[in-house]
């Protein structure tokens, strides 16, 4: 079973005006190689980056990759998806015998994007969707929220609790730019931008880069005393059609099942100690907790209110601050989730350290998709 033997990251910031996207990738890579104690020019067999051309602002992104990762004249490929899909790719390259050590990278230079709304709009179906409105594509998530709240009687208070919890957790994370001490009342009194969604429930964008070094079993044990095993990984897509999708995160349920099965997990809620899940809109955290079988669909609100998912609760969710606290890291979202789980399992999470041996990281492919991936990590 492949293990994570090194991690490095740069960020996370609301802005990075002093560094280019290539330089933040380089910084993260240098730190990851130092952490793993390897030389990329000598030791790494394969490099995988995760990027979307429209997010980068130029075409054929993979062509721009090798130099800043130490990957020149080496096997390199780009996965047009979140980091967790890249991690799955590295996993398969190692398990198939193609590589002993593989590197996975993802980043966000969201602050370089001047027209985020326009870019996301290009992900909408050009015939049936794009021409309907000039509203910011956030509206699409708000529609899903409206559907979800109505179907499962989700309260505004439970969604506000997610914001309070995650922004509160972020205060203990030096790398999280959007931490804040809030109350449920202050959230409920804040303005709507896409009723029933408030502005404060939308994760602001952030910059950052993350690099993982992944190694085959025997090599992992040689390189480090603290390997973090990738016990399970899964990914799943519903459909691109808004008329046939579930609007209740079936993608996360299925990807979770795939990863849990591989990891031999039968009752996730009993076995998982920590979860880092996609909360780029606050309601998504509730939806994803249920999809990952960490709570029942009708009890998730009550558990959230009781503090079950708090840092000191029975099953801490988004101890890092989540996307609401760390920011929307675009394709690096799953990377930040995985990073937190790895740091926690290695007991390197500082003041936010919790007691854990098995963790799950999950990402969604963002608006307007119904796709996502899940990874289970353990020590």
């Amino acid at each position: 079973m492949p293990a994570v033997v090194g991690v490095g990251y740069y960020g996370f910031n609301t802005n990075t005006p002093d560094m280019s996207w290539k330089e933040i990738m380089y910084e993260a890579a240098v730190r990851a190689y130092e952490d793993a104690g390897i030389d990329p020019r000598r030791d790494v067999d394969s490099f995988v980056t995760c990027a979307e051309d429209f997010y980068e602002g130029f075409a054929i992104f993979d062509e721009f990759v090798p130099d800043q990762l130490g990957a020149v004249v080496k096997p390199t490929c780009t996965v047009c998806a979140d980091f967790l899909y890249g991690l799955a790719t590295a996993y398969m390259q190692i398990e198939s015998g193609l590589a002993d050590i593989a590197v996975v990278e993802a980043h966000s230079k969201a602050s370089d994007m001047k027209t985020f709304g326009e870019i996301i709009r290009h992900a909408m179906d050009p015939i049936w969707l794009k021409g309907v409105t000039r509203a910011h594509p956030y509206y699409f998530a708000a529609l899903e929220m409206s559907y979800y709240m109505n179907k499962y009687c989700i309260s505004e208070e439970a969604i506000a609790e997610v914001v309070v919890k995650n922004k509160g957790n972020a205060i203990l994370n030096e790398s999280a730019p959007y931490g804040a001490k809030l109350t449920v009342e202050s959230v409920l009194n804040s303005p709507f931008v896409f009723y029933p969604m408030r502005k404060i429930e939308i994760a602001e964008r952030a910059d950052g880069a993350i690099v993982f070094v992944v190694a085959r079993d025997e090599i992992a044990r040689k390189i480090t005393d603290s390997p973090v095993w990738i016990k399970g990984i899964g990914w799943w897509s519903e459909t691109s059609s808004y008329d046939t999708r579930s609007f209740e995160a079936l993608y996360a349920y299925k990807a979770g099942k795939m990863a849990y099965k591989m990891a031999g997990i039968e009752v996730p809620v009993k076995e998982i100690d920590i979860a880092e899940i996609d909360d780029r809109f606050a309601f998504k955290e509730l939806q994803h907790i249920v999809a990952l079988q960490l709570a029942g669909k009708f009890e998730v609100c009550e558990l959230m209110r009781e503090g079950y998912f708090s840092r000191n609760g029975s099953l801490p969710v988004n101890v890092s601050g989540g996307n609401l606290g760390v920011g929307n890291l675009l394709e690096a979202t799953g990377a930040q989730k995985s990073l937190e789980v790895v740091l926690q399992l290695r007991r390197e999470a500082g003041r936010r350290q919790i007691d854990c041996e098995l963790g799950v990281a999950q990402c969604w492919r963002y608006i307007p998709t119904a796709s996502g991936a899940v990874a289970v990590f353990g020590v």
């Binding site: 370089d112 509203a135 931490g179 931008v193 964008r205």
Partner: protein, 152 residues
């Protein structure tokens, strides 16, 4: 602590000129799309039924995505029921605007349309709505040939 500068141009000594990507495409609406927008000029709505499982698709398409089999078109009323809605107050560039956008379950189908709600004082989930079309000479064969949906 909540509001942060996210616009990098406010932080730079040398504001970059930036760059833009001018991209233009002809998006082909396909057999099903053409058929729908052509019929819409006659004030008619069509959906598509899977010949194998009977699932009734809206938007119409030529294949069933669940069993990968062919479909046939049939006529529907175009009326439906609000399944979810949002009041959007920010446009693409995060400037103020206001529009009601709804996910509408279309009568006689298993599908939905996503469109605007107009002529409505109030909107709620479960509300019955019907389409308001552009005049035929203003139609362009696009989704905005439907102006909006209004309460029945």
């Amino acid at each position: 602590m909540i509001d942060k500068i996210v616009d990098p141009e406010k932080l730079r000594h040398f504001p970059p000129g930036g760059g833009k990507i001018e991209l233009y495409w002809l998006y082909t609406s396909g057999k099903a799309g053409n058929e729908f927008f052509r019929k819409l000029r006659e004030g008619k709505f069509i959906a598509a039924r899977c010949k194998k499982c009977g699932r009734r698709y809206f938007p119409p398409r030529i294949f069933c995505e669940f069993d990968f089999s062919e479909t046939e078109f049939f006529e529907i009323s175009g009326e439906g029921c609000v399944e979810a809605f949002t009041i959007a107050k920010l446009d693409l560039n995060e400037n103020p605007m206001e529009e009601i956008i709804a996910l509408i379950k279309l009568e006689g189908t298993d599908g939905r349309i996503l469109h605007l709600i107009g002529e409505a004082k109030d909107v709620c989930i479960g509300m019955k709505v019907k389409p308001v079309l552009k005049k035929v000479d203003e139609m362009t064969g696009t989704i905005s040939d439907i102006k909006y949906f209004k309460p029945v």
